[in-house]
């Protein structure tokens, strides 16, 4: 039984709403697979994404990296004709797969006339994959090489350190690809077990955007994906991360030139939607390009840093609000002070209305660009469907517009405290003693 439900039209922030809910319909197949379709007949392309609620956040200490390993296995070029990725690429289509903390996603796009060709292959590739011990062994090597390349860059080392520092019990502390040790120990049985448990229709969603009629797409979905049994993913609720009440620090010596400083505070998860929107405005005010406070105070006025940036990715569970500063040994302490002063300024008083409005417009623009192509729109809908519901994607701008300066101040005070952050510094080789000195100070 397929149920199609048209959505109500939400508020409009502009002439054409981004991800207009009036164009979106949803259904649930008999086997529990959620189907979300946004009809856009303008251009003869259709993008299709399958999102599985299975990321590194669902792993244990022992099998860290298995979600990423399974994604690799699904898309490896095994040389036979069943490999999905090479098949889509060779027909000139677009294919991308990624593993995050909360989910794994596959997105493909083709000229719409080829949609009927790809649907059964996509379904088979995701829900009926077979992998051998040899493939697992091969992927262990490939992933090990990838990790070696990635951890040669300070950026990836920082990312690994800051998440490990900020989380004590929650699986978000695992690096998405795992560690060298856990990946080396992954067996085909573990990969199979993870795949069999999570890769079931009732734990997944199918999203399409483009030149396709909803009814037709649902027919194709039922035909291609409907044959796989519902399954029931057994999901362990992750341990709750206790509140952080102290400053935690870590340091590493790496490279020859820059000093990189990274701060991270625990931040709201998707369950706190109003707070998420306020936090997005906070990162925009602090970090959005040359107009951001941090760039202005660190790079332009005081020349304490070469570059700086802010990241805040909304996640299923509370994530991190991260500030990164690229500086040098001499300016490091002063740069750290400026970051904390800018946070304190946000805590102390509401931002001026003009600042808030400019930030809202910048977020709106960024969101518009994030959703430019059909593949982009699939990614956004899949992202929110995986961690909550795609509805948030359609309401996002309206919710951002509702945030007041007082809301923003309250959220910053709640999360970005002066004594509950994590600090990681990567310093150039030769500055080992200075690292110790920096902590002492």
């Amino acid at each position: 039984m397929v149920v199609v439900a048209a959505l109500l039209i939400g508020g409009q922030a502009a002439a054409v709403p981004i991800l207009d809910p009036a164009h979106i319909q949803e259904a649930t197949l008999d086997n529990g697979l959620r189907v979300i379709v946004k009809e856009e007949p303008y251009w003869p392309v259709v993008a299709v994404g399958v999102v599985i609620k299975a990321g590194s956040g669902y792993e244990t200490e022992e099998d860290a990296g298995v979600a990423h390993m399974v994604e690799h296995l699904l898309f490896e070029d095994s040389g036979d004709e069943t490999a999905l990725g090479p098949w889509i690429e060779d027909m000139g289509g677009y294919v991308n797969a990624s593993t995050r903390r909360d989910f794994t996603q596959v997105t493909v796009a083709v000229a719409s006339k080829f949609l009927p060709d790809i649907m059964p292959r996509l379904a088979q590739g995701v829900f009926a994959a077979q992998f051998t011990e040899e493939q697992v062994a091969r992927q262990r090597q490939i992933i090990a090489r990838e990790m070696a390349d990635q951890y040669a860059t300070a950026e990836r080392v920082l990312e690994k350190l800051i998440w490990q520092l900020a989380y004590t019990v929650h699986p978000y502390k695992h690096p998405v690809p795992g560690t060298r040790e856990t990946v080396a120990g992954l067996t085909s049985q573990e990969a199979h077990a993870f795949y069999q448990n999570f890769y079931v229709p009732s734990n997944a969603a199918l999203i399409a955007v483009g030149d396709v009629q909803t009814e037709k797409f649902i027919e194709l979905a039922a035909s291609g994906f409907g044959q796989y049994s519902r399954g029931t993913a057994v999901i362990r609720e992750p341990p709750t991360e206790p509140p952080q009440t102290e400053i935690r620090t870590d340091a590493q010596v790496m490279g020859k030139h820059a000093t990189i400083v990274q701060f991270a505070w625990h931040a709201p998860g998707i369950a706190s939607k109003a707070e998420v929107c306020a936090m997005d405005l906070a990162y925009t005010i602090l970090g959005e390009g040359p107009h951001g406070w941090l760039d202005k105070h660190l790079c332009q006025e005081n020349q304490l840093a070469v570059a700086c940036g802010v990241q805040f990715l909304t996640q299923r569970e509370p994530g991190l609000f991260i500030i990164t500063v690229l500086t040098d040994s001499d300016s490091e302490l002063a740069a750290r002070q400026v970051v904390l002063e800018d946070i304190e300024k946000l805590r102390a008083e509401p931002v001026p209305e003009q600042t808030l409005q400019q930030a809202k417009h910048r977020l709106y623009t960024e969101y518009a660009f994030t959703n430019e192509a059909y593949t982009d729109q699939v990614d956004t809908l899949a992202f929110y469907e995986a961690i909550d519901s795609y509805h948030f994607a359609t309401e996002y701008i309206e919710r951002v517009n509702q945030v007041t300066a007082a809301d923003l101040q309250a959220v910053v005070n709640k999360y970005l405290g002066p004594d509950n952050y994590n600090l990681v510094i990567v310093r150039p080789e030769g500055d080992e003693i200075s690292v110790q000195e920096a902590w002492r100070r």
């Binding site: 303008y42 251009w43 060779d90 660009f369 994030t370």
Partner: protein, 449 residues
């Protein structure tokens, strides 16, 4: 064709306006001409809340005669520098600057046949973007400081291009194919030529060519066609009419004999080669043949990858892992230009350059012999159609494609028309075009010193 209706441009401007429609798309594409002969093409797209804008001037390499080379590239670099200055200093462009920083971006390009700028913005800033672009192209007199700054940037760019072996081999290939005509020269010029152009020459060049008669503005946006047309008229309506530029070199009169241009390189022990053949001008079915043949050669299952003998002929002995990351042979995409070509890039041991040439040429020659299997043709058509559809799904990409076609004097209706041509293509059509165009081949090669 559907949704044929009165062109608002025709009604609004009282001028002859062609109306065409993109079959398969929800909104008709409209084309009109302003009083100053500037062409306006607009297409309403409500799939995304962004506007893609193309502004182009039909000022090709042929205009750079009598010491003007490379005036187009230098002016474009000046425009880029001037645009940055406007964004930094003019407060009314601040919202636009913020959008560019948020990811919109703006790109200035000098092509063989024209110069263009391509930009994206939210519809709220479309008016501002058009005013901004109109001002960028209209600045007169040129500022000596900005021109000098542009000169230095362009010279740096030339130095970078000089270091790219692939780019140098490609330029040699163009020279082998086209001879000593302006479209065979690097578009960015060389340091001596860049230094030699005076401010007066540059100003005169700009006044002569950057006029309404040589310009086109294309917008793909959620706004109504009428609104887009009004905005273009407000911004670009006062441009001087001017005279059309010299026609593009659409008939390149390829050399009747195959040719080779050889250069040297000191940074690689391999020989770098580009081998190719000419193609029929864009717009006709013959050009589509080139696009499909490119796809027969390209990709993991394409002929160039599957031919292990070809790889062996290069005598490179590359390890498997390196081959997977950087295969030494690739088909260069066929692009819309007045001198189109089908070309293959290869790296080889210098001692094996002749065997490599023969091995690549076997593939080109095989097209004249009707060697394409039905499943091979079906795969290539599928790749061509997917490539066309996916490449143009963003508003700015579609605006740029429409603008490019306008610059080359081609029909603005886009994908479906070409899709029909691709679908109808037979192996006999390919043999016919290959017979007419592939008897001569051209090579640019860089050999180690």
């Amino acid at each position: 064709m559907k949704a044929v209706r009165h062109s608002w441009l025709g009604l609004l401007l009282g001028l002859a306006a062609a109306l065409s429609c993109s079959p398969g798309s929800a909104s008709p594409l409209e084309r009109g001409v302003l009083d100053n002969r500037l062409v306006v093409v607009v297409e309403q797209n409500t799939a995304t809340n962004l506007a893609g804008v193309f502004v182009g001037f039909r000022v090709g390499a042929n205009t750079e005669t009598q010491g003007r080379y490379p005036a187009r590239a230098l002016l474009q670099e000046h425009n880029r520098v001037y645009a940055q200055k406007l964004l930094d200093t003019e407060s009314h462009f601040s919202p636009l600057a913020a959008e560019f920083q948020a990811g919109a971006g703006i790109r200035f390009n000098t092509e063989w046949d024209y110069v263009q700028v391509r930009a994206t913005c939210t519809p709220q800033n479309l008016e501002s973007l058009l005013q901004f672009l109109a001002q960028v192209f209209r600045s007169d007199p040129l500022s000596p400081e900005l021109v000098n700054s542009a000169r230095q940037h362009l010279i740096q760019h030339c130095s970078a291009a000089e270091r790219s072996l692939a780019e140098r081999a490609y330029y040699l290939f163009r020279q082998a194919m086209l001879g000593k005509v302006p479209p065979a020269r690097p578009v960015f010029g060389n340091p001596e030529a860049i230094e030699a152009i005076s401010l007066e020459e540059l100003t005169a060049f700009r006044r002569r060519y950057f006029t309404g008669a040589n310009a086109a503005v294309v917008i793909v946006s959620p706004e109504s066609a009428e609104k887009m047309g009004q905005l273009v008229r407000q911004s670009f309506g006062l441009y001087p009419k001017g005279l059309p530029a010299e026609p593009l070199a659409s008939d390149p009169r390829l050399p009747r004999q195959s040719g080779v241009r050889v250069g040297s390189n000191t940074s690689s022990s391999s020989a770098i080669m580009v081998l190719g053949v000419g193609l029929p001008p864009p717009g006709g079915e013959g050009f589509v043949v080139g696009q499909v043949l490119h796809q027969i050669l390209a990709g993991a299952q394409g002929r160039l990858r599957r031919d292990r003998g070809l790889l062996h002929s290069l005598a490179l002995n590359l390890p498997f892992q390196l081959l997977a990351r950087r295969f030494p042979i690739k088909a260069i995409p066929v692009t819309l230009e007045s001198n189109p070509h089908l070309a293959i890039y290869a790296e080889a041991d210098p001692r094996a350059i002749e065997s490599a040439r023969r091995a690549i040429l076997r593939h080109v020659d095989s097209f004249r012999e009707g060697s394409i299997r039905p499943e091979e043709l079906a795969r290539a058509k599928q790749r061509t159609l997917n490539d066309m559809a996916l490449t143009l799904q963003r508003p700015s990409a579609l605006a740029a494609h429409l603008g490019k076609r306008e610059m080359l004097g081609l029909d603005c209706t886009v994908s479906p028309h070409q899709a029909a041509q691709v679908a109808a293509l037979t192996s006999q059509d390919i043999v016919q075009i290959a017979e007419a165009y592939f008897r001569e081949h051209y090579i640019g090669v860089l050999l180690p010193d």
